[in-house]
């Protein structure tokens, strides 16, 4: 579904991504782990071109999104993204947050968009918050809304950048539960996280990034039980 070859990203002189190759298949839950500054966010943000790669190619559903002639707005509708800081639109109600993109981009009618939004809100247990503003919600609620907002576009893949890192510990579970359900429903996901329990439980593959490279990858049981790269060992020793 997403094929990345030779992905390279420099910020000025800083070489942040250094030749990333990966092929993400439909239905996979790829969990990206690694030390801070290793390029995990940059990698994820390259996948929907929030960062422009300085080299390499990204092909999404058969279309090269890194090609100059590509109109990225079309593919982004099929790639949901969830941010560490939620980034809900504070001047809109929860319902407006969720329905804006479907209505404006996919020309879904207001009734239809509202129905989809309320169904999704129901699924994350927040149907009663439709009329609330983001400022009135807890962090965990905001993040679940942010997930719903992305899902309302019915994307083919969901990208998560440390979705629980800005949350108070007691709210991490409710967000992870939503993500687990999503994975169980067969959503293709790429998740940058420090939640090793989540990686172990729902990840189909784990990438360990270090210094702008994928230092090691494999199925979770293997990586966690039996890391081969000494850097992976060191990192897991710290976080587990």
């Amino acid at each position: 579904m997403i094929k990345v070859t030779g992905l390279d990203k420099k910020f000025g002189k800083l070489h942040v991504l250094n030749g990333i190759d990966i092929d993400i298949k439909k239905g996979e839950v790829v969990v990206v782990i690694g030390p801070s500054g290793s390029g995990k966010s940059t990698f994820l943000r390259c996948l929907n071109l929030l960062e422009h790669p300085t080299g390499g190619e990204i092909v999404f559903e058969g279309v090269s999104i890194t090609s100059k002639h590509n109109d990225i707005n079309k593919q982004r509708q099929k790639m949901g993204m969830v941010f560490q800081q939620f980034n809900l639109f504070p001047h809109m109600t929860v319902l407006q947050n969720i329905t804006l993109a479907p209505r404006k981009l996919k020309k879904v009618s207001e009734e239809e968009a509202n129905k989809i939004a309320l169904d999704l809100l129901e699924r994350v247990g927040l149907a009663d918050k439709a009329k609330s503003y983001p400022g009135q919600l807890s962090g965990g609620q905001k993040q679940r809304i942010a997930i719903v907002r992305a899902l309302a576009m019915s994307p083919d893949v969901m990208l998560f950048d440390e979705p629980t890192s800005a949350l108070d510990p007691e709210m991490v579970g409710e967000v992870l539960d939503v993500m687990k359900k999503l994975a169980a429903d067969g959503m293709t996901m790429v998740v940058v996280t420090h939640e090793m329990g989540f990686a172990r439980e729902v990840g189909t593959r784990v990438l360990f990034m270090d210094g702008g490279k994928i230092a090691e990858e494999g199925i979770p049981s293997e990586i966690f039980a039996n890391p081969k790269n000494p850097r992976t060992k060191e990192f897991l020793g710290k976080v587990l």
Partner: protein, 226 residues
């Protein structure tokens, strides 16, 4: 102190206050239009537009308003631009317009900075979230960034109105019969150098204080709507 001249000359002050308000209102209107254009140029990705806008803003902010007013007043006829004398609310129209233009050219630079700051104060995560949903840059600006930025910008624009009311006093030097000019006139005919100034100071203060209060109320209303 002797304010007995008021009974005879109060109309000068009323006329002056009226013209000051007119001057400020037209200046804000034109200044905001110019400010929007300059701000859009400054945040655009076109380097030429950026340079033009930035240079203009820096020049205006780096030179005295008095000099700018003289440049416009004497410069316009010099480069062959003559403002036609159309009847307008009892104004010496060419003079009045020269004052409005000079003040707007000045105010536009400050307004541009107010708008730019208001837009750039919006967390960049807002633009990213909008773009990640597939919205174009334009749509993200229209539905996400600008509606939030306007809440930062409007109060500052109101304040700019107050600033212009005060600064417009300086266009009395080119003979526009606004409030400051009326003080000079009354000084001249009464040979009282001091008291007319007290009168205009009080009028300026009443104007700015009233407007500030009204803006404060409007701002609280707006915030309460959140």
């Amino acid at each position: 102190m002797n304010f007995s001249f008021l009974s005879e000359y109060y109309v000068y002050f009323i006329e002056g206050a009226k013209n000051t308000i007119l001057l400020a209102a037209f200046t804000v209107l034109l200044g905001v239009m110019l400010g929007i254009i300059l701000a859009l140029m400054k945040i655009s990705r076109n380097p030429i537009l950026k340079v033009i806008s930035t240079s203009y803003i820096e020049f205006i902010r780096g030179t005295p308003l008095l000099v700018q007013i003289y440049i416009v007043f004497f410069g316009l006829p010099y480069i062959g631009i003559h403002i036609p004398d159309v009847p307008f609310l009892g104004q010496d129209f060419p003079r009045f317009m020269a004052g409005v233009i000079a003040l707007s050219l000045n105010s536009g630079a400050y307004v541009a900075e107010i708008i730019r700051a208001g837009i750039q104060a919006i967390d960049k995560g807002q633009m990213e979230a909008a773009r990640s949903l597939g919205m174009s840059h334009y749509m993200a600006m229209r539905y996400i960034i600008l509606p939030q930025a306007i809440r930062n910008i409007l109060p500052a624009l109101g304040n700019e109105f107050v600033v212009i009311i005060k600064e417009s006093s300086i266009v009395s030097v080119i003979g526009i019969s606004e409030l400051m000019f009326s003080a000079d006139t009354v000084k001249g005919v009464t040979f009282q150098p001091f008291e007319p100034l007290i009168v205009v100071a009080v009028i300026y203060f009443v104007l700015t204080f009233t407007i500030s209060r009204l803006l404060g109320v409007a701002e609280r209303r707006m915030r309460a709507g959140d």
